[in-house]
Each structure stands twice: as C-alpha cells, then as structure tokens.
Amino acid sequence: MLDQLFLLLALTVLAAVPLVLAALGGTCSERSGVVNIALEGILLAGAFGTAVIAYASGSAWLGLAGGIAAGVLAAALHALMTVTTKVDQIISGLAINILVAGVTEYGAKLVWKESASRTIALLPAWTPKGDSSLLFLISSILGRPLVLATILLVVAAWLLITRTRYGLRLRAVGENPAACDTLGLSVGGLRYSGVLLSGGLGGLGGAWLAFDIAQFQHNMSAGKGFIAMAAVVCGKWHPLGAAAACLLFAFASALAKSCERWKVNVPSELISTLPYVLTMIAVAGLVGRARPPAALGTPYEKGAK
C-alpha cells in the first residue's frame, strides 16, 4: 500500500517536470504581457530538436542544447509576430502550434523516413543501489539531471521575477508598458526576452518529453503546453504558484493512471478533467481571483493611449 503511494508520488513528479518547465516559461512570457498559447508548439519543437540532434550527434547533452534552441526558435517567431508585427497573440500562438506540428513531422520524415524517430541517446542518470523503496524512489528521481534542473529553475525563476531589477521591469511592461516606455525602458526588448525565456524553458520541457520515451513521436506534446498555460493562470501568474499548479495537475493525471492500474472503479476520464475545471474556477474568481497582468494580450503601440 505504502509503496503504491510512493509510486504515485514518483509518477506525479515525473509527469510534472515538462509541465513545470513550460509553465515557468509561460509565466515569464505572460508577465511581460504576451499570451503564449504557442507553448504547445514550443514543447513539440523542443522534443524534435532534442531528438534530431541527439540522434545525429549521438550526444544527449548536445540534444538537450538542440531542444532548447528549437524552443527558442519557435518562441522567436511568436515574439516576431506579436511584439514586432503586433498581430493577435492568440492567433499567432495557434498558427505556430499548427506550423510546428507540420514542420516537426515533415522533418521526422526527412531524417528518419517515418513520423517517429529512432531511439536516441539518453542523459546519464544516477541510479542508487539497494531496494529500500522510499529512499530508492526519491534518489532515482533526484538522480535525473532534468529533475534537479527543474527544481533549481523553479527557484531561479521565482528569484528572477520577484527579486531582481530585470524581473521588476518584466512585470512592469506587463502591467503598464506606456509608463515603462516613458522611463526609457525598451518595451519590445523586455517582451522579446520574456517570450524567448519561455522558448528556452519550454524547449527544455520538450527535451524531457523526448528523453522520457527515448524518441520523437508525432504530436508528442499532446496538450501539455495547454495544461501548462492553464497552470500559469491557476498559479496566478506567479512562478511558485504555477509550479504548484503543475504538481497538482500532474497528481491528477498520475492518480487517473494509477486508478486504472489498481482497477479501482472510479471514472479516470473524469479525474483527468480536474486541471481544467480548477482553472475555470480560478479564473472565474470563485476561489480567490486570479488577476492577469493588466496589459496581457495587448500589443504596445507607442503614442496610443
């Protein structure tokens, strides 16, 4: 019984990693005032970049870098469309999601002649000896470099956004870009940085997805980017809140899976809706209002009031 519980918690942590990474990215982007539905595409691009580079070079670390680069590239397109060209941010995100889905499968056909990749090199992981279940589980989870990196990045993102001058400025352009402009801050530059950060973090999340199954598969992000976006909202646009929401969402999906395995007669489909229902409740302000950054979704026009 107890080891089942540990297993459930372990599954939760593992399921949470890509969500947390993408949600931290989403927080950076949205705090700067740019809605980022493109997270779904960024995750997928990251997974593809990782798989291609890791496959071609045989090095998982280079693959990791490739994943981050691919995520940044997808995000750069989003920034170009939303900050420079100022098209609707949601439309840009949707277009990027469709584009990345097409480009990655097209690319997979070019590289591997099919829509799934060959097996790729994996990051080294420290696996403990012994079979004491609790210790074993904890250390085998923490032994994965990306799990550790995710925990550190949560702390780093929290410090960056709430405790640094850059973070203050990032939040300020999301709230009142005109005031920032008056103060001589570059609204466009800060927003670019926020979106590109989301690309790097989301790309890293995509790398996790690719390493998790040791290959690239068509549409393997499977809605995780959207869940991460929901977590940003549920976490009230705060890095720690977003990470906590991701853990909760991951717990819901791990629980749904475990119930199937335990043959417990609960509707696992309905448990899996928990993240989305919670998000709707959070934005409706029924349990503490989630207030988005004031300028979220509006492109900044110099001189417009």
Binding site: L94, E105, P267, M280
Partner: protein
Amino acid sequence: MKRHLRDAAIQLAVASAAVVLALAVGGVMIIAHGHNPFSVYATLFSESLGNPMSLGQILFKTTTLVFTGVAAAFAFRAGMFNIGGEGQLYLGAFVCAMAGLWLPAGTPGVVAVPILVLAAFLGGALAAVPPAILKATRGTHEVINTMMMNFILMAVVNYFLNRVNVETTVHTRPILASGRLPLLSSGVEAMRGSDGNASLLLAVIACAAAWYLFARTRTGYELRAVGFSPRAAEYGGVSVPRAMVLSLVVSGGLAGLGGINTVMGSQGYFEEGFAPGMGYLGIAVALLARNHPIGVIPAAFLFALLSEGGQVINQFVPKEMGEILQAIVIIFVVVGARLLQVALQQRRSAHA
C-alpha cells in the same frame, strides 16, 4: 456601398496574396526535394480536383471546416474569440449520435433528420454555455474557458462513450437508418468510396444564414456593434451580456453542427477522436475568410484541398507540406492584414 465593396476587395486581395505567397514557400520546399514545383503543384491540383473520389474526400473535409470556420467567424464578428470549436464539435457529434440511437427505428426521415441536426446544434451550443455565462457575468476571458472546455468535453464524452460503445470498439452503435444523409456518391457514381455527403448543403445554408443574420437583421447589427466596441454598443442600448452569450452559444452550435458530417453522413455513428484538430483549423479558416460567413466556404475548401492534396504529392514531398502550407497561409494572412492596417493608419494620419 462603394466603400463596402472596396473593403471587401482589399480583404480578398490580402487573403489571395497570402495563399500565393504560401504556395511560393511550398515551391521552395519542393525544389529542395529536387522536383519541379510547377509540375508538383499541377499534380496536386489535377489529381485531387480531377479525381472524383479525392474531390469527394476534399468536400467531406470542407464540410467540417465550413461548420467550424463559420462558427469561429460568427464569434469573431461579435468580438468573441471561440477556440472551443474542438470540444463543441465533439459534443455536437456525440449528442447527435445519442439522439440517433434514442429515436425509434421506424421514425420517418423527415422527422428524424431535423431532430438529429437540431441535436448536433444543441450539443455544440451547450458546450459553449459555461464560457458564455462566465464571460457575461464575471467577465472571464472566453479564450481560457473555451480552451479548458475542449479538454473537459473530450474527457466527459469519452467517459460516456465507454459506457455506450459497441464491445471492443471506441464508437457507438449506428444511428437509425432514416436519420442518415445521402452520400454524394449516391448521386455521382464516380465519387464512390469518398465520404462527401449532403451535410455540405447544410454547411452552405448555415453560412448563408449567418451572412443574412449579420448583414440584414437587427440582432446581427447589434452583435457587430458589440464586436466593434462593447462600450459604444452599450451606450446605444444594446445588451452587451446578451450579445456575448448569444454569439458564443450560436457559435458553439454551428461548430456542433459539424458533427452531422460524420454521424449522419459518412459513418453513421460517433467515434472517439473522429476529427482531431478540425476545431482549431476552423479558426484558421475564419481568419483566411476575414470572418466573412460566405468567404468561409472557399477558405475551408482551400484548407481541405491542401490537406488532401498533401496525400497526392506524398511521392514527391512528405505530405505534411500541406499542413505546413496551412500554417503559413494563416501567418501571412494575419501579418498581411496587420501591415495593411498600419499602412492605412499612416496614410490617414498623413492626410489629417
């Protein structure tokens, strides 16, 4: 009136330019694969449009996209962003199939068909009710809620599906025979084997109705006014919450109607995950159509052609090129429209 026509012409020019540019990008991709773009495009168009069976498939895809496209355009016109087409289509199809199972087998077609169509509409509309009410009463942004509803509805429908499905499958029992719509191939023998069906006619009627509503009725005028400026509309005596709920719920209903294409047309039953991505692609169709209800029809046809045409040229270029071109069309059309808007603004301020 003249100005009206000029605006329409400009929109059409932007959309056409986006399509031509996207095809040019595709041409570069084809060259990269060592083929002649003109001959590959010639194959794409002649094999997909010239072959009745594949034309039937294109018309089948067009039908779903017309419904989800006019749904997105309907909401956009009133200033609402409905990205819940995916879930609305899903619930609409499921409710339609449930009604088709519930009606006694002897029900005559003249009764069954309208009931099933209505069921699809109501299913889709129902899916849009929570976001609509939350928007109207609590001001919650409909984008987040319609997107969340997509995931919720998929899961809830699958939950019920797992309790009514035929053993070992992920679909329902077939609906009653008199509720089925004729396949296009029953009129055009050469289309045999394709899924195109009479739902297409209903899709066109839905677009015409949406056009009429916006262009010729008071309600349509009010919806457009809210879309243009909610505050001004309110000042003019329009009930903004009512307009918001109406536009989103009707939009949901239109997306739900898309379910008839599969449930009453091609398959005769509801199947899990029967039209993935069609809700999102409907938004792209609406964008290309510049939210014009009639423009949705050619836009949907183009997108269906691109995804079906991808299959035809798969021997030269991976078929995903069609998907990539769809995305590039959207990007060019929104960027083009935006650049045009900036240019017009500059000209206006230069004149002032």
